[in-house]
């Protein structure tokens, strides 16, 4: 017997959970501050420009245009196609995280992060499809293949996030954020499914490249890493601007509202 009554135990438990909530809220606040600083810094803008330029120099000056045994200049589209696909997945992952945190904590920052990343993820996914289609014309001799599981699942991702943007813009500010957040959480399931599709089902054209020593893609790792870094900086730079636009829209609404009063 420790002598505590059930009421004391209950109070201690409530205080404990409140304490952990406060700690978690502080961590979230720190993460929000860091994200704000990173996306708004000049380093990110110059990083996107510098690495973008370096990527172009490597792609057009040094990378080999022979891939999968086929020599063709359009093979060089692969570097930005792959990088944009990965950054699209990261952006849509941010939409998932932002949506989940918005549903849990209701902070406007999470909703802005989710929508901004969703818009950028959609743009990057569109560019991935366009560049991939042009590259496919060279190595598969076809602009599009309905039998390829990666292509079809990635197109589903594209439609899902087109729907996400429609839901966000078609609903009002308060309830719309909530609907879009639920959509952002549920819709994300298609993203890892698309990336794992070549392992889950038999691929016809897209092969599993990571951890598959049998693939002869002949993609230069340095050029790919530099391009990936450039695309990541670009995403962070655009994310900073998009979040700032959301904040300014909110400020204008508030200023108008207080003026009317």
């Amino acid at each position: 017997m420790n002598g505590n009554s059930p009421t004391d135990d209950g109070d201690a438990r409530t205080q404990g959970s409140r304490g952990s909530n406060v700690r978690f809220a502080r961590i979230i606040g720190t993460v929000t501050g860091i994200l704000h600083r990173v996306t708004g810094s000049r380093f990110v803008a110059w990083g996107a420009f510098g690495f973008g330029l370096l990527s172009m120099v490597l792609v057009f000056g040094f990378a080999s245009d022979t891939m999968y045994g086929i020599e063709h200049g359009a093979n060089l589209l692969a570097y930005w196609h792959i990088s944009l696909a990965w950054v699209a997945a990261a952006a849509l992952g941010s939409t998932f995280v932002g949506s989940a945190l918005y549903l849990r904590y209701r902070g406007p920052f999470w909703s802005r992060l989710a929508h901004s990343s969703g818009e950028l993820g959609f743009l990057f996914a569109t560019l991935t499809l366009l560049l991939g289609s042009a590259w496919g014309r060279v190595i598969w001799n076809s602009w599009w293949e309905w039998t390829d599981v990666r292509l079809v699942t990635f197109l589903i991702v594209w439609f899902i996030y087109a729907g996400y943007l429609v839901v966000y813009s078609a609903t009002d500010a308060q309830s719309g954020d909530r609907y879009a957040a639920v959509y952002g959480v549920v819709g994300f399931v298609t993203v890892p499914l698309s990336y794992a599709s070549t392992r889950l089902w038999t691929p016809t054209f897209h092969e599993t490249t990571i951890g598959n020593s049998g693939v002869s893609a002949n993609i230069d790792p340095l050029t790919l890493v530099v391009t990936l870094v450039a695309a990541t900086f670009l995403y962070l730079y655009l994310l900073g601007i998009r979040i700032r636009i959301h904040e300014l829209e909110q400020d204008v609404r508030r200023a108008r509202h207080s003026r009317r009063r």
């Binding site: 589209l77 930005w80 560019l127 560049l131 601007i241 636009i245 400020d251 200023a255």
Partner: protein, 39 residues
């Protein structure tokens, strides 16, 4: 240079540059509107 390669990277550049310009203009317009409302 291969026409497909040129078309691909041109489309990428136009899309990204166009989107950045659109965002910058929208941000500048909102900043002006905020100043007008606050004045």
């Amino acid at each position: 240079m291969e026409p497909l390669l040129l078309a691909g990277y041109s489309a990428l550049f136009v899309a990204l540059f166009g989107y950045v310009t659109y965002l910058q203009r929208r941000m500048a317009r909102l900043e002006r509107r905020l100043e007008d409302v606050q004045a």
